[in-house]
Structures are given as C-alpha cells and as structure tokens.
Subunit: 410 residues, 2 copies
C-alpha cells in the first residue's frame, strides 16, 4: 500500500517551524507495518492543488495535514474537493460541534469559522475534540479521479495526534488488509554505541526469520526497534539482552529519567543531585517526570568552587591539589550532597564543558561522576565526551542518570 | 525563481530522524530573498529517480540532499546523472581529496569510497572539508532535460551547512540575478504574544513599502523577522520598538539566556538561582552559555519544602500559612539564595507543574517568581501557564530569566 504524506504550511518552508509530522507519522505507520513512500511540503494556498493531484495519481492513501483553519489561506478542504470532483456541503453535526467549542470557552464564534464545517459530500467527518477544525476522510469509492483514499487532518500536533490514533489508524489498518499487524518492541539502551550493536548482534538479528529491526541513535542512547510476530519479537529481544542486557533502560518507551524515577518510587528512596558542569540539567530532567517530587528533594548546582565548599563541604585543599574536575572532588560532592540533603542516594558531576578551560591532562569533554549512598562506599568514574557544550551536558547527564540506575539495581 | 528541495533518506520516513533540512534551508534562502516552492522526502534508492525527474520539469533550481555515501543504497549521483543524460567520470581532484581524508585519519580508504569521486561530466565538484562526500553542481547548460540547475549535497548537517554557505549560496545569488539581496533583521521579544503583534503593529508594518515580515512564536518568545533594504529595516524596527521595545530580548539572534549572561558579564555582576517547579532548568539554560562560569555561581534546586527551609532559610511558619507557591515564599527563596550565595542578584521560582497538585485557588500552571538584589527591595510576581509539564517549566524559566534581564536594566 503506497502512502504519501502532504504537509501544507508556508511556515514549514520559511523555516519558522521544523516539520516533525513526517517523522511522527513514520513511527506510527511503522507500528502497523506500513511505510511512507513520499512526503511533500508545499506552502499554504494554491500550491496544494498540483501536489494533491499528483499524489492522487500515484498513491493508495494520501494524508494531508494543515490548511483546515478559518483564514483565507486555509484552502485544503476546497482545493482537495475540487481535485476529487466533489461538492462541498455544511455538515450540521460539525457546525454544532464548532459552536459548542466556542460556547464552552465563553467566546463568540467568528463568521469565518463556519467554513470549517464545510466538507466534501458523502465523506466521513472526523471529530476534533482538541480544536476547531474537524478532519475529513474520503474513501476510495467517492474519489472521482483515482482509487486513492484521502485524509485531511489538522496541523497542530495536539489536534492531529489524537485524531490519527482514534480515526486514522483504524481506517488504515482496514485499508491495508493486514489482519494482524506485526507487533513492535522498542528497547532503549545506554552506555553503548550503535556500532557495538552492528558488530555484536546484527548478524544474529538478520538470520532471525520474520524479524525486521532498526536503530535510532541519540546522545547517550541507542533505541532498537524490533518488528514481527510476538514469537519473533521474543527471539529478537533475547538476542539483544543476551549481549547488552545490563545496558537496557526500558522496553516500554520509558526514558532514562522516567526509569530512574520509577525505580526510586518503587524502592521508596530519595535522590539528591550535585552538579557543576551540567548546571542543573540532571535535576531538570528528573523533574520533567510527573511524580518526581516524591523522590527528588534537593539539587545543588555548585558552579563555583566556593559553592562546592560551602554547600557540599568539599575540601578547599583537595580542590587546590586535585582540581575541581577530579575523582576526589566528585566523591566529596556526592557525599556532601547525601549528607546535606538526607537523601538515600546522591549523584555528582564535575567536568569541563568548554569551549575554554581544557588542559592537556583534562581536555574539554572530561567529566567525573560520583555516586554516594547510605551504607555504601562512595565511588567516582571518569567519562569523556568531547562535544559541543549542549551535547556534552546531555551526554554527561545521561551517564550520571545511568550511574544512578545501576546503583539502584546493584 | 522556483526552488525545490529533495531530501533522500529512508530514516527520515521511518521516523528515526526528524528532517531539519527543510526549515534550515528555508531560513538560509530567506536571507537571499528566496523561498522554497516545494520540499519532498523519498527513501534511499530508486524512489529518487521519479522525484528528481518531476522536480527537473517544474523547478529552476533543485537541491538534493543525502545519498552521496559509499554504500549500495547511496544512489543520488548515479540516478541524477542518468535523468540529466550525463556520463559519470572519476574526478581526480575529488579522489585525491578522499584519499587525503583517510590518510589524515590514519585509516585505509575502503574500495567502496572510490565511487564518491564519480561525478557527472563537466559539473562543478564542491569540496567537502568535513566528510568524504563531495557535493556536485550541475549548471543549467549541462542539463539535457530542462533548464533547471541542480545541486547534490551531503546529508549530515555538519557537512551540509558549511558547503551551502561557501558553495551553494554564492551560486544561488548569481542564478537569482538579485544584485543586492535584501537585508534581514531578527528581533526577539518575550512577555507578549503573537496576537499582541498582530493587533499592535501588523497594520503599520503592512503599509511600509518594501518591507516583508513574519513571526515565529515559541514558548515565552516571539521572533519578528524583517526583510527589506537597510532603510526599510530601520523603519520596521522603529515601529516594533515603539510599541514593544521594553519586551525586546535581542536584535542579533541572541537567546534570552545569552542576553542575561552578556548583561551580567558587562556589569560584572553574579547571579544565583533558587528553583522549585523548574527543577534546575533555569540554571541549566544559563550554563548553556559559554562564559557562564564567570557570572553564575550557585543554584539551589529546592524541590522539597525541607530544602527550601534548610538551604534558603524559608520560614516553616510561612510555608504552612501561605503554601510553597506564594508571594511570601518566592520572596524568601530569592532573598535566601542571595544571602547564601553572596551573589549580586537572585531569582527564585515556585509553582505547580502538574499534572497533580492543583487547587481551585492555585490551579496547575500557577507560579510565583521572586527577584532579590543587593540594596533593592525583594519582589515577587505571579505567572500562569496552564500547559503540559515540560512546556510549563520552559515558560516559567523564560519569565524568570526575563525578570532578571529587566532587573539588570532597571
């Protein structure tokens, strides 16, 4: 089944907005065992006409996003109906739903919004509980030009995503004729690189019949996506975990910080952080997770050496003797954070983010990570991520959170 | 001049990688007064053929990215040459440059890399100092099919962006025939919304002859892009600043955190942060800026009330009486951070990120921001950003950094 995506929006081509729809649709369709054959972006307005017509002649399914709003350059509905050879009528249910939307918010509905209830005759109107623009589904039998099924969907992700899940995915599954779409399993790993996977398990994954797989590498993380029947997924998972099980973050899409907060919650433990080079990124990631307040209490961002001494009790003599980026200071920071917070476990980082401050001994990209816990020996280890400042912070925060995860499981 | 972008790469359509090329090209071309008429993504391999052929028949300039690598599915060069009706030859200079690339890195060059020096006869070879794949420029006179100029460029941004700046932009400028491309001015504002601009200045910008403008709204920030001759830009800037001057973050592309670090550096002042609901995001943003260590010393992430009391000296009685999310506590946090750090200015935030924890009086999205400075009265103000947890943190951190900026300028 050939699926094409057409994204409309001048802002996508002026560079004001990065188009994330294509990647998102790619991941969602992959779950049904489907793929995007082509994705196109055109500006708002008349440019949509040619792009729709060309796709209709090539594709089995065309998904159009954007241009369903109330303004004069929102022309997706009208233009597509024209190309399909369909009349437009006002859908009364859609009109009432629009009126309700405004009533609920205590605002009068502008006359311009009425056109959002105009739909091609006979099509399915897809409800939009999160915005004003209903979606439209034109089944192949209504298409006067080709045998292509057409979806017209709103552009904003918070309107688009729920509509795709409730209205589009079931129809795509029916259109594709696949009775049992393959299952998908996503395994997230940290502490190893994509090339380790290539060398370590690609050959064995390749020779597993019925298994498709792919990698997605982020900073400090590699996601392995497996697709196949449940049996085949079990085999793929076993291969991956046999080689890299101790690096597994999650098998349910959870991020590293979500995993750490979940473990802390289950174990009824609390965490404190002491950050120098990451500047608060570790605590910010932890507090991105709902429920973090039950397990995270204190974060110390000790950017200056004086702060390390005053807040964490780091020894000025050791700072002088070993430097702030050292095993000794990382251990003292972690132990000090544990002591000052009363938490059960503390993680500390100190490093050289650059661009300045590197030395031959301690080049830009060097960091020490310390871990302290009640009734355990405080330890520290070194990592090296010679990257730009932003990516360095992210890589070090990932290594620090992974150290917490391992300490909790040890 | 009709410009089309063709991005090749299976990973872009499987959702492993978000395609940021289109937005980046949009911004770069806008600087020359040019726009993208259409952007297309196709998978690696044979799908490129149809997409190239169609673009050649529509566009004046076709820019293709990706598929210049050494592997068997890197077919952009061969397929494009075929569609253009051009023979391929090995470019000796490109081959030497490839060999040098590997020699410099002390690695043998694989046989597969040799094909990266194959180029269509007569074209310009665009040097790639940052990778192995040279780019290709096929001027219209060599195109055996249409009058379209064609660029073949590498996919990875760190190879693509420099090549576009040094090799593509000058050729596009010549092709466009525009002698003096319009100037661009980007003004970043915070504390007001896009609709304020529409109502406040759109009419006056519209009636300024020769001025093009556009907005890009982020969380807590609106960027106004002006395009025109230097005189026209001066007029546009005057209109914007007359209405919204006190909300201006920068006119040189600097972010709010960059602006705050610059002001602190110039004024030789230091900053401390005390964060509850933002969890370290403010200090992390400040420390994203190179040179932050000279002006940022202490950050307190006091997520638990006990941390607010112990580290910042917040009164337990006031926490009980007013709640953690209150004017009183925000002021005490800011004053406590100033005191404990010895910094010149301190900013504090306390709020309800949700999804739980809201009350009728203090719904999810409520935050208080406190500012304390030496020899000044400590003040706090309330903001309300009922968004998801991540966006709430970003909006509150933006409001807090803006409060610092204003305090520094007051």
């Amino acid at each position: 089944m050939r699926i094409e995506i057409l994204n409309t929006g001048t802002e996508l081509l002026l560079g004001n907005t990065v188009n994330t729809h294509a990647a998102w649709f790619g991941r969602e369709l992959f779950k049904l065992g489907l793929r995007i054959a082509r994705q196109t972006t055109v500006p708002d307005g008349e440019a949509i006409r040619d792009a729709v017509a060309e796709s209709l002649d090539r594709a089995d399914v065309l998904i159009v996003t954007g241009g369903l709003g109330p303004t004069s350059d929102d022309l997706t509905r009208e233009i597509t109906a024209g190309v399909l050879g369909l009349e437009m009528i006002t859908d009364q249910a859609a009109l009432r739903s629009l009126e309700n939307f405004f009533t609920l918010r205590g605002r009068p509905m502008a006359e311009a919004n009425r056109k959002q209830a105009l739909v091609p005759v006979g099509c399915d109107v897809l409800p939009n509980p999160n915005g004003t623009a209903p979606g439209v589904y034109v089944p192949p039998r209504l298409n006067g030009r080709s045998n292509c099924a057409v979806f017209l969907l709103p552009g904003p992700p918070r309107e688009l995503y729920p509509m795709v899940h409730t209205e589009v995915m079931p129809r795509l599954r029916a259109l594709s004729g696949v009775e049992n779409p393959p299952s998908v399993l996503e395994l997230k790993f940290t502490g190893i690189g994509e090339s380790d996977f290539h060398q370590g398990i690609d050959a064995r994954l390749e020779e597993t019949p019925g298994l498709e797989y792919g990698y997605c590498a982020h900073i400090g993380e590699v996601d392995l996506r497996l697709i196949g029947s449940p049996d085949v997924l079990d085999r793929g998972r076993a291969i991956a975990l046999e080689s890299f099980g101790k690096h597994l973050i999650s098998d349910d899409g959870s991020s590293l910080e979500q995993t750490v907060v979940r473990l802390l919650t289950e174990m009824r433990l609390t965490l404190a952080t002491a950050e120098s080079c990451t500047g608060g990124l570790i605590s910010s990631r932890v507090t991105d997770v709902p429920g973090a307040s039950a397990v995270f209490t204190h974060g110390f961002v000790t950017y200056a050496n004086s702060a390390k001494v005053a807040l964490l009790g780091v020894s000025p003599e050791d700072l002088e003797a070993h430097g702030a980026v050292s095993e000794t200071v990382a251990c003292q920071m972690a132990a000090g954070a544990l002591q000052a917070s009363g938490a059960d476990i503390a993680v500390a980082v100190t490093g050289i983010a650059g661009p300045d401050g590197g030395t031959p001994d301690k080049p830009v990209g060097t960091a020490w990570i310390g871990i302290a816990a009640r009734d355990a020996r405080t330890i520290a280890f070194k990592v090296f991520h010679p990257r730009n400042r932003h990516d360095f912070k992210l890589a070090v925060s990932q290594a620090a959170l992974e150290a917490v995860r391992r300490a909790l499981l040890s």
